[in-house]
């Protein structure tokens, strides 16, 4: 178990966004979180690397253990946590820098300055996301010339450069066309051999295609969490069935 969430409640001021969440995420699997807009999927994802800290009124009760460490303990090193638990967003957020500098950004923050080492990291990371062959001759060009799919791959490469353990993906394909989506999904399936992936998605079929386990959320509650096969062929909760079959939500 790489993540264990126990009795988690999250509040934005008086509004309770997550209600008594209990969840275990297993290593080297893809865990999908599905549910209608506003159900708390992204909020839950942001709990794992404490991105919700950026919202002043947000506070939690309960515990979130990531890799045997209580991430809400005052002793938790936030910088280390965010290195270990990287995040990919809906729209690729490549920096207005060169392709090389985008990937080298994280390692430089971690004080790696040796050119040779940086080149190695950049090459390895770009290869891991299948982008190296496409961009190896234009590493000095701006990342913003790349297609959206390439930019999303680049953002994933930028995460891999700091050697994380967990990748959080918040609807990583929602800005991509079906072909590009297919390629990013293939990438995720390859990456899960080395990393643990948690993906929030609105696309039910995407969860069905790539996730090993799926959690369905509704109004801040985790209604059901099970193997993907079980969720899609025989969900226990009627509310899960109604949502995944498109009868509400």
């Amino acid at each position: 178990m790489i993540i264990k969430v126990t009795n988690l409640n999250l509040f934005y001021g008086k509004f309770q966004a997550l209600k008594n969440i209990n969840l275990s995420v297993k290593e080297n699997l893809i865990t999908g979180i599905i549910g209608p807009s506003g159900c708390g999927k992204s909020t839950l994802l942001r709990v794992f690397n404490r991105m919700n800290d950026l919202i002043e009124s947000a506070y939690i009760t309960g515990s979130v253990i990531v890799d045997e460490e209580d991430v809400y303990s005052p002793l938790c090193d936030l910088i280390m946590l965010r290195k270990k638990v990287g995040m990919v967003f809906q729209r690729p957020n490549a920096f207005p820098l060169s392709i090389f500098d985008n990937v080298a950004y994280g390692p430089r923050v971690w004080s790696i300055t040796d050119k040779h080492t940086l080149s190695e990291i950049v090459e390895r990371s770009l290869k891991a996301v299948g982008l190296y062959e496409e961009v190896k001759d234009q590493l000095k060009r701006s990342a913003l010339i790349l297609s959206l799919e390439q930019q999303q791959r680049l953002c994933i490469a930028r995460l891999l450069a700091v050697e994380p353990e967990i990748l959080l993906m918040d609807e990583p394909c929602s800005a991509l066309d079906p072909l590009a989506t297919g390629r990013v999904e293939e990438l995720m399936l390859n990456l899960k051999k080395k990393y643990t992936i948690i993906i929030v998605t609105h696309n039910m079929q995407q969860a069905g295609r790539i996730a090993d386990e799926v959690g369905f959320m509704l109004l801040g509650e985790l209604i059901e969490f099970d193997r993907t096969n079980k969720i899609f062929t025989n969900p226990t909760e009627e509310r899960t069935f109604n949502y995944i079959s498109g009868r509400f939500g």
Partner: protein, 222 residues
């Protein structure tokens, strides 16, 4: 997915039930022909079978289209997968009715043998099993379906007994081998109809409860 999809599922159910009704009619007519040694019924049974074959293709296409267009999940998915399998089983049952009618055609040219009550008992049970399997599908009733499955071994046992009886007849009166073989084939076809009713009930249990009971799958998982 919503009201329209539900309507399309209802239409699939209506079609598969129409097919079941035609199969029941075909089997009833085949058994009637056997009882009356009426070789004129075979033509009607073949005509019904032709309709069943056409309907089988139509139902299969309906299911494939719904799966492709709606990517159903949960009970909707299990329903469509179950119907595809039932569809196939019902079509096979129609073929067995034709086989029985063919046996009658052959039988009327043969000298009569002593009546074999087992055949009629098997026919009655197989017919009831088919009716009950269809009823359990209509009502999504896994308990009733399970009971149908339990009767399959009774029919198997009766078939074995019928084979023993017919073998004795053949040894005692070799000139009646032709008739005995016809009854043997009827017994075999009835036993297959009972088997296929069991298959339908296994599909009903899968649709209703997502349990796979065929080949004792649940026991081997334990």
């Amino acid at each position: 997915m919503g009201i329209h999809f539900d309507e399309e599922l209802k239409s699939v159910k209506k079609d598969i039930l129409q097919m079941a009704a035609m199969v029941e009619e075909s089997i009833t007519k085949a058994l009637e022909a056997l009882k009356k040694r009426d070789n004129k019924m075979a033509k009607t049974i073949r005509e019904i079978d032709h309709q069943i074959d056409k309907l089988e293709i139509a139902v299969e296409e309906e299911c494939i289209e719904l799966i492709a267009r709606h990517q159903p999940v949960g009970t909707d998915l299990r329903f469509l997968i179950g119907v595809i399998k039932m569809n196939n089983d019902l079509e096979r049952m129609g073929d067995h009715a034709v086989n029985i009618a063919d046996c009658v055609n052959f039988l009327v040219e043969q000298s009569r043998i002593k009546p074999i009550s087992n055949i009629w008992t098997m026919a009655k049970i197989a017919n009831e099993m088919l009716k009950d399997s269809v009823e359990s599908f209509i009502n999504n009733d896994a308990v009733r379906a399970q009971k149908v499955c339990e009767r399959d071994s009774v029919v198997d046992e009766m078939r074995n007994e019928t084979i023993r009886i017919l073998l004795t007849y053949m040894l005692e009166e070799p000139e009646k081998v032709g008739a005995a073989i016809s009854y043997l084939l009827v017994a075999k076809n009835l036993e297959r109809i009972a088997d296929l009713s069991t298959n339908i009930c296994e599909d009903v249990i899968y649709i209703a409860q997502a349990r796979v009971i065929k080949h004792h799958a649940e026991e081997s998982e334990r």
